[in-house]
């Protein structure tokens, strides 16, 4: 119960400071759940974000649900998602109630224009850290560059990028001969846990 409340509060905080798409929540998730609480690893976040990107629905909500589930099952998923959504509900309801008298929209837009720039800085920092913590192989660098170029120049849907990179990952591990040894270990571990 205590953990559920904590999940709710953390995602309430994340929802209150996520401006823009799902990527904007990553720096805050990382700080709260990886650096401060050690509940998940950095690798987990990027796995969950990849799943959130390639399934139907709002990416930020998908990522929140996925992270919440990994922390405490279905209850955790619900706590994280309601926590994330709650600030939107409160803030937008307040704004919509006063909308007709609401003259200060440009104030929000000035703030948002600068926030976007801060988010760019935070994301560049995240990408650098991802690289520092990755396996730093030539294959990883190649996948990174190809994904970036496909998305920026050819505007390919992220879903295809993720599916393609999944296939690339399997092929690379197979060519390195890692797949067979991993299979062997996996099956042995399975039998071990059955006994």
């Amino acid at each position: 119960m205590k953990k559920l409340l904590k999940i709710f509060l953390i995602f309430f905080k994340i929802g209150s400071f996520t401006f823009g798409g799902g990527y904007a929540m990553l720096p805050i998730i990382k700080r709260e759940l990886v650096d401060n609480l050690n509940w998940i690893t950095e690798k987990d976040i990027y796995n969950y974000y990849a799943i959130g990107q390639s399934t139907p629905g709002i990416i930020a909500v998908n990522t929140a649900t996925m992270t919440g589930y990994s922390l405490k099952g279905i209850k955790g998923a619900l706590a994280a998602t309601t926590g994330f959504i709650m600030p939107s509900l409160i803030i937008i309801t307040l704004i919509a109630s006063f909308f007709k008298r609401f003259q200060q929209i440009d104030l929000f837009q000035h703030a948002f224009a600068a926030i976007q720039i801060a988010v760019v800085a935070l994301i560049i920092d995240i990408v650098i850290k991802m690289w520092q913590k990755s396996d730093k192989t030539r294959a990883s660098l190649l996948i990174f560059l190809i994904a970036f170029l496909l998305l920026v120049i050819f505007k390919i849907s992220p879903v295809f990028v993720i599916l393609g990179s999944a296939a690339a990952g399997i092929i690379i591990q197979y060519l390195r001969g890692n797949l067979e040894t991993a299979y062997y270990d996996y099956q042995n571990k399975d039998q071990g846990s059955d006994k």
């Binding site: 798409g21 799902g22 948002f112 993720i162 591990q173």
Partner: protein
């Protein structure tokens, strides 16, 4: 029964809008014309606000339309409808992911996915920078490189980036300080 309709229509948007909040826009456009919930101009105003307030854009827009159509319960129901497909689908996927994430095929697939996610995140930063820092349209208009950068924004980017690398404070601090700078210097 306006509540039921709000829930079902937003459930549909949540189910079929693959991608970020803006991917939901064409669906919303359809919706408001179909039921004449609001005018296109109102929708555009609302999106501007949804973008510049905290929270996912899609969720903010759903709350807005729901509230305008059915008051506070309408806002809650539309938002719940939008989030419901995510919760259902992701819970199922998360269940199997937990079960199979040690599987060699899944592990090696994700070893390829992670650098691609870095590419995805970098491309999001690039798109944001394109809107806020680089003036592509200026370059096309007068072909002068000097107008290519919005220097005020570029300066802020450099300052925030240096601060992020140096002080390692909570991201919320950078976001809040930048919001104030944006208001004071009229970004």
């Amino acid at each position: 029964m306006v509540y039921l309709r709000l829930f079902l229509e937003f459930f549909k948007v949540g189910l079929f809008a693959l991608g970020g909040g803006l991917a939901a826009l064409p669906f919303l456009q359809d919706l408001i014309t179909k039921y004449s919930w609001m005018t296109s101009k109102e929708l555009l105003n609302m999106i501007a606000i949804s973008e510049s307030t905290p929270g996912a854009i899609g969720i903010n827009t759903a709350t807005f339309i729901g509230f305008n159509t059915g008051g506070i319960p309408g806002g809650i129901i539309a938002t719940a409808g939008l989030a419901a497909p995510s919760i259902i689908i992701i819970t199922i996927i998360a269940h199997y992911f937990k079960k199979f994430n040690q599987h060699p095929l899944v592990e090696s697939a994700f070893s390829g996915i992670r650098p691609a996610v870095a590419g995805l995140i970098a491309s999001a930063a690039f798109e944001l920078a394109q809107g806020g820092i680089l003036n592509l349209q200026y370059l096309q208009l007068n072909k002068k490189l000097i107008n290519f950068f919005d220097y005020k924004s570029l300066l802020l980017l450099l300052i925030v980036f240096t601060a992020v690398r140096k002080f390692k404070k909570h991201p919320i601090i950078y976001i809040t300080v930048s919001a104030l700078i944006g208001i004071i210097f009229k970004f």
